[in-house]
Symmetry: C2
Subunit: 278 residues, 2 copies
DNA sequence: CTAATAGTGTCTATTAGACAGTATGTT
DNA sequence: AACATACTGTCTAATAGACACTATTAG
């Protein structure tokens, strides 16, 4: 039992927090959703694309580059509270699925000063956003090309596009340690994404890909009623690969509930609308 | 394109980081290993227990309570560098598996001031530590009792013990959101664990349980050569449930390599020593 | 009729759980 | 001989992948 010359109360009074290094902490949030591209053929289903909400910076550093929504956390709020505040600011949405992704801490990730950033991610149905996005905010559709370099390295090339702009960046995904399934991400090419947000986006997409295998998070992206074909398209957009429809229907069956509604008018057999069986 | 009255260089020069709230950031590290309990019967295998390294605090706050090894991160190191420094201090080990667990950020988690903490975890073979542990540091064997309260709540009661001390604490594990498999942990009973480290330990153990299903991290806890019986005991200790030996052998088979060594002298059929097939 | 998606059924290969039964050391 | 673990083999149920085939609409 250690002896101390004064009480806990006295100790805390004398305690000077400036004896330690202090850091700024931000939270960045990856807001994922799905875009429905229109088809040229009236019968064909429009393609679906995973999309992400980005903000164009109007101050230094990285002026005019795109970054994730985010901001400094205040001294009287925890990370999740801060993230919800930012999410409400950007999308006017609340009470939605939010997950801590990773805390990024490279010492040079912000040229202004040492900033540590905890990234969160969320999946939303962007049609729920009634308000017009502010001018500097935009959804980008994501296309990813994966190139396997060797057993522990994969090159991920991201193509982000909206009506006005095309952005391309690449990230090398490197297996960090053979026993752990943990990866390092290194930016290989990037001109338009601010800070280390290219890595944050890559990390987030990987997390989602993993999580949709064993959770129901993709239902957060869906409207209340949907066809199994639409649901499959969303899974395919996120997983970045086609699925076989009979097999998809079989495995998803116990997560959804048939309704008595039907979607018609599409030049082919109408499909039953389902809803998520919470 | 926004206009700005001065250059980026000028901007950074004028930038005053004290315009923003600053926080202290610590890293806490859960160092897991396995203890081999001796058997009363010369033939029986000694039981194995998951164990964790704790440090007894000798200053306020939480004086004389146990906590995870950890410390403040310096302005010139990232989280992983800081964690490795602390791990080297405590165990003299380097180049080992290390994984970021979660960043804990409740505003009242430290009575001194606002402290944000990123927790890391690692699995080691504690026989590799040659040096004597310092007096205030000790391994505790963990026994967990799980009680299901309802579909979204499970009470976890932790019994930690070493030669001198028994610690008990309980944590309620609450499903946070039905689509996501994310849990909240709330301390129900705790007298001897400092800060929010009871929650950190509970979170870490859950992460490991999940990860050993699809990674090889448990091999970090094993010595170079081991029998399949020993390996199974380690899996059982972490998963907190018995496994069927024929099934365990079948599923683990492609991860290990038979050697020509054999372990004898145990009152029963000798067992072949295996090693991890990296 | 046609193009396109909706939806059903089935064959096969793989995997997980349960467990019966044999092998072989030490005391 | 007895005990305790080491190790093998097998039956079954559940699951995943591939794919053939039928149903139904708008134009």
């Amino acid at each position: 039992m250690s002896k101390t010359p004064f009480s806990e109360e006295e100790f805390l009074k004398k305690y000077n927090k400036y004896d330690y290094d202090l850091l700024s902490v931000t939270t960045d949030i990856i807001i994922f959703s799905i875009s429905h591209l229109n088809s040229d053929n009236y019968r064909k289903l429009g393609e679906k694309k995973c999309s992400v909400l980005l903000v164009k910076r109007n101050t230094y550093p990285y002026i005019n580059k795109w970054c994730l929504p985010g901001g400094f956390i205040h001294i009287n709020e925890d990370l999740e509270t801060a993230t919800k505040r930012i999410l409400l600011d950007e999308t006017n949405l609340k009470n939605i699925y939010l997950e801590q992704l990773y805390t990024f801490s490279s010492i040079d990730r912000d040229p202004r000063m040492r900033v540590l950033s905890s990234a969160y991610m969320t999946l939303i149905n962007k049609d729920m956003i009634k308000e017009k996005l502010s001018d500097n905010t935009s959804w980008f559709n994501i296309t990813i090309k994966e190139t396997t370099k060797n057993s522990s390295e994969t090159l991920l090339t991201f193509y982000l596009e909206n009506d006005k702009e095309n952005i391309e960046f690449s990230v090398m995904k490197i297996l960090k340690e053979k026993t752990s399934n943990i990866y390092d991400y290194k930016v290989v090419k990037n001109e338009n994404i601010a800070f280390d947000h290219a890595i944050v986006i890559a990390t987030g997409l990987d997390r989602i890909k993993n999580k949709i295998e064993y959770t129901d998070i993709l239902f957060n992206i869906m409207p209340k009623y949907f066809t199994l074909g639409q649901l499959q398209q969303v899974y395919e957009a996120i997983l970045n690969k086609p699925l076989l429809s009979p097999d998809f229907r079989r495995t998803i069956k116990n997560k959804v509930e048939k309704t008595n509604k039907v979607q018609k008018g599409s030049g082919h057999r109408p499909s039953v609308l389902y809803k998520y069986k919470g």
